[in-house]
């Protein structure tokens, strides 16, 4: 009189197994659904009843209790229809109990067809962990197919699902297509000139540093930022799966990526769209879509201050925490931030040929917009001047792949020390090896250039990355000097 089928719910971006338990008991005819279901889940009983009848089964008009366990995780959507139907069939003895040895997910149509639902990737992950076959409708099955150890079967109707659960052969989904170039990424070879920005990008990639580029409109800041993902080391398979989970949780399934994602939210986006949230079960935002990749903030000066404030802590911690009545979730957001800004409202301050038309007070006001806590996180700040037309016809630059191999070496050295240079604290920096001349230059610079304590740390972090790129153990004077030129003001 009892049966349970495994399905899946998301906690943050992580899929977590949900046991769909059904008890068929005596008493007045009823259909009780418990375990934090939302409205869509509640409506399952009508769909399940109709689908069972349409598929040639009886519906047990008895006291049916459906529990989605663990009860404290909120469940959303129509994906539990199929597991509920399977469990009802098993619990009422209409099909052998062996049908419950699966992970199932799918929305039922009234005629018994199974429709795709969110969570295919999660179902694949849960099924692989549990060692069960995974029954998924077309449209969801492709997502799960990327999980290498999952045994995925495509089912189009409830009857097919019962047959597949009982061991009859069902088709496997087509193997996922290899990821095609996303188009987001630009190869560094296409960037002409901009030697300084290229160097800054390489350093940013090597140390994971957040990077701010200032320059007039049309200097190529956006294009440079788009080069960054291609310069970063390729994602490991665990990281790729995390990224795929993050995207799936946001309702935007994608093939398993190998290149770090690149997201460029617009400055008019809402905090919920960028950080995550929304009504009902919170949905990850752009920050989480950029997890393990690059978050690019174009026109940083146009972002409202509250949005930049909202970004600061997640960027620092690598997690977005969202607490709601009864729900607290966290979404990962291990991102590297690249930002671009004009040097003044008209964009031409410091340009070689075009006079800036902004009143100095306006420029000062504009620059103040970037000051503050978020800007403190940008270890690198570089000017990106407009190109000389001669440079535009110049030779192609070094391709991303060449830079990526140097970055990989620098990253390996950091991995041996245990942390990316971006996240080195003052104590970590103090514990590093510094050549005496390097320390001397640092002190002189702190004195002469009025470096703040934070500015001093930023220079030291960048110097460490430069030393990693040069493959040296103790940071030398040369690297400190170069880091000073890459520093953010203050």
């Amino acid at each position: 009189m009892f049966a349970a089928v495994t399905s899946v719910a998301l906690v943050g971006i992580d899929p977590c197994p949900v046991r769909v338990e059904v008890h068929v008991g005596g008493g007045k005819e009823a259909f009780q659904l418990v375990g934090l279901p939302d409205t869509a889940v509640r409506e399952a009983k009508e769909r399940v009843r109709a689908a069972l009848l349409s598929s040639g089964y009886r519906f047990p008009y008895r006291r049916l209790t459906v529990n989605l366990a663990p009860a404290e995780i909120p469940k959303a959507g129509s994906a539990y229809d199929l597991p509920i139907a399977l469990a009802v069939l098993a619990a009422s003895g209409m099909v052998p109990a062996a049908v419950t040895g699966v992970v199932a997910l799918g929305e039922l149509a009234l005629d018994g067809a199974v429709r795709p639902a969110r969570g295919g990737l999660g179902a694949g992950i849960v099924a692989a962990a549990a060692g069960f076959p995974c029954l998924l409708p077309p449209g969801s099955a492709e997502e799960a197919a990327v999980v290498s150890r999952a045994e995925v079967r495509v089912v189009r109707t409830l009857a097919e699902a019962v047959a597949a659960a009982l061991g009859e052969t069902a088709p496997s989904p087509p193997s996922p297509p290899p990821e095609t170039a996303s188009g987001a990424s630009v190869d560094l070879a296409w960037v002409r000139g901009q030697a300084l920005a290229r160097r800054a990008l390489e350093v940013a990639a090597a140390g994971g540093h957040h990077l701010l580029m200032m320059g007039p409109p049309g200097a190529g800041k956006t294009m440079l930022a788009r080069c960054l993902p291609g310069m970063l080391p390729a994602l490991t398979s665990a990281e790729s799966l995390e990224v795929a989970c993050a995207w799936a949780a946001a309702g935007r399934p994608r093939p398993i990526p190998s290149e770090p994602p690149f997201r460029s939210p617009h400055h008019t986006a809402t905090p919920a769209a960028i950080v995550g949230g929304g009504s009902g079960v919170p949905v990850p935002g752009e920050l989480t879509l950029a997890h393990r990749g690059v978050l690019f903030l174009d026109e940083l000066g146009e972002f409202p201050p509250y949005l930049l404030d909202a970004l600061r802590q997640p960027i620092e911690e690598g997690w977005v925490h969202i607490a709601r009545k009864g729900i607290a979730v966290r979404f990962p957001c291990d991102v590297q931030v690249a930002a671009a800004a004009n040097p003044c409202p008209c964009g031409y301050a410091g340009d070689r040929l075009v006079a800036c038309t902004c009143p100095p007070a306006g420029v000062a006001r504009y620059r103040r917009r970037f000051s503050g806590p978020l800007l403190d996180r940008f270890d690198l700040q570089v000017a990106v001047p407009r190109l000389d037309p001669a440079d535009l016809c110049g030779p192609e630059g070094e391709p991303s792949a060449a830079v990526r191999s140097r970055v990989a070496v620098a990253r390996r050295l950091q991995a041996e020390r245990g942390a990316l240079n971006r996240s080195l604290s003052r104590r970590d920096l103090d514990a590093l090896q510094w050549r005496p001349e390097a320390t001397r230059l640092l002190r002189a610079a702190a004195d002469r250039l009025a470096l703040t304590a934070r500015g001093w740390d930023r220079v030291r972090r960048v110097a460490r990355t430069l030393a990693d790129l040069a493959g040296v153990g103790a940071v030398a004077e040369e690297q400190v000097a170069e880091a000073l030129s890459l520093r953010a003001a203050g």
């Binding site: 300084l196 340009d351 070689r352 075009v354 006079a355 000017a383 990106v384 000389d388 000097a481």
Partner: protein, 351 residues
């Protein structure tokens, strides 16, 4: 001509041409003041009230502001200005006004890096040989010329287009204060309280030219204050220098036209000083600024390649034939040594 009537007329804050017409019509400054105060000539209420202000009240107000009135032909009024037709009867001044003619360095407010950088180095060069540098305290070229004077520790004169109690633009107050602190002066023909209205600036330019023995226009479009100053200078028989610019660039068109019409083109600061020596007499040798700290290797190349208006690091690196990493390291060392400074993406010579 009594000082009293001239001061009271100056306090009316009229356009100089109007004041001249009234003086001619009523025979004297006193007549003009009387006509204004009594309402025999139409004038705004504020002007009438100012004309009715007694002499003692004017003096008291100036004393309170720390402003000295200089009367044409009197003590302290620069003789080379007083000799000119149309020179103001009264100047309101603060600080020291040089007795000998100086160099006016002017240019457009909407200056490119080229103009601001040159204004500053010319300001420095002229101040270093002891010539007073006169400019208009405006944004862009004027302010940079004044800054150059402050850099060199010379005496600069700011000629305002508003009352002596107003600094326009307001963000140049610290600059004006450092000019005054450095032994320079500030002068205007407008009375306390006169707002910086657009019509006040063109007549102001004849004072800039009048205080100078030569006018240098660093960057100017086809129209604008700098060209008015140049025209005034020619009228007054002053020599005009202009810095040549790109012929296709609108912001240099005024200068290029001046050169076509006979202005002397200016090359580097040394060239300017040499040309000016013929007009203003030899300046004193620039104070030796101590032995320059030895700079070797890439730093020296970078420093040599840096134009006076500054350059983006990349431009400087390319000009010095350095790799970008090498140039960055060299730049930081120069910066720590106080030989260059950075402003946004620009690298500028000097501290």
């Amino acid at each position: 001509m009594s000082d009293e009537a001239r001061l009271r007329l100056a306090f009316c804050g009229l356009h100089p041409d109007r004041a001249d017409r009234l003086k001619r019509a009523f025979g004297s400054p006193a007549g003009a003041v009387g006509a204004l105060a009594s309402g025999r000539v139409a004038a705004p209420e504020a002007v009438r009230a100012a004309a009715a202000l007694p002499f003692a009240a004017c003096r008291e107000r100036l004393a309170r502001l720390g402003v000295t009135p200089l009367f044409r032909g009197g003590a302290g009024y620069p003789a080379h200005l007083a000799d000119l037709p149309g020179a103001p009867d009264v100047l309101f001044s603060k600080g020291a006004l040089p007795a000998q003619p100086g160099v006016a360095i002017v240019g457009t407010r909407r200056c490119t890096r080229y103009g601001t950088g040159l204004a500053r180095v010319y300001g420095q060069a002229c101040a270093a040989v002891g010539w007073p540098v006169i400019s208009g305290l405006a944004r862009g070229a004027d302010a940079e010329a004044h800054r150059g004077v402050v850099d060199a520790g010379g005496a600069g004169v700011a000629v305002l287009g508003c009352g002596p109690d107003i600094v326009y633009p307001a963000e140049h107050r610290p600059l004006l204060e450092s000019l005054l602190a450095g032994g320079g002066g500030m002068v205007t023909e407008y009375p306390p309280g006169a707002r910086p209205e657009p019509w006040r600036f063109p007549p102001r330019n004849r004072i800039i030219a009048g205080l100078a023995g030569a006018v240098v226009v660093v960057e100017a479009g086809e129209t604008g204050g700098a060209l008015i100053t140049a025209a005034a200078a020619l009228e007054q028989g002053r020599h005009v220098f202009a810095v040549p610019g790109d012929v296709g660039r609108a912001t240099s068109r005024g200068c290029n036209l001046l050169i076509r019409d006979g202005a002397t083109p200016v090359l580097d600061p040394a060239d300017l000083v040499a040309s000016l020596s013929l007009l203003l007499g030899p300046g004193r040798a620039p104070a030796p600024s101590g032995p320059a700290p030895p700079v070797e290797g890439p730093g020296r190349a970078l420093l040599a390649a840096l134009p006076p208006g500054g350059a983006a690091l990349e431009e400087a690196a390319t000009a010095a034939g350095l790799g970008v990493a090498e140039a960055m390291a060299a730049l930081a060392r120069l910066e720590v040594a106080g030989l260059v400074r950075r402003d946004g993406g620009l690298v500028l010579p000097g501290r």
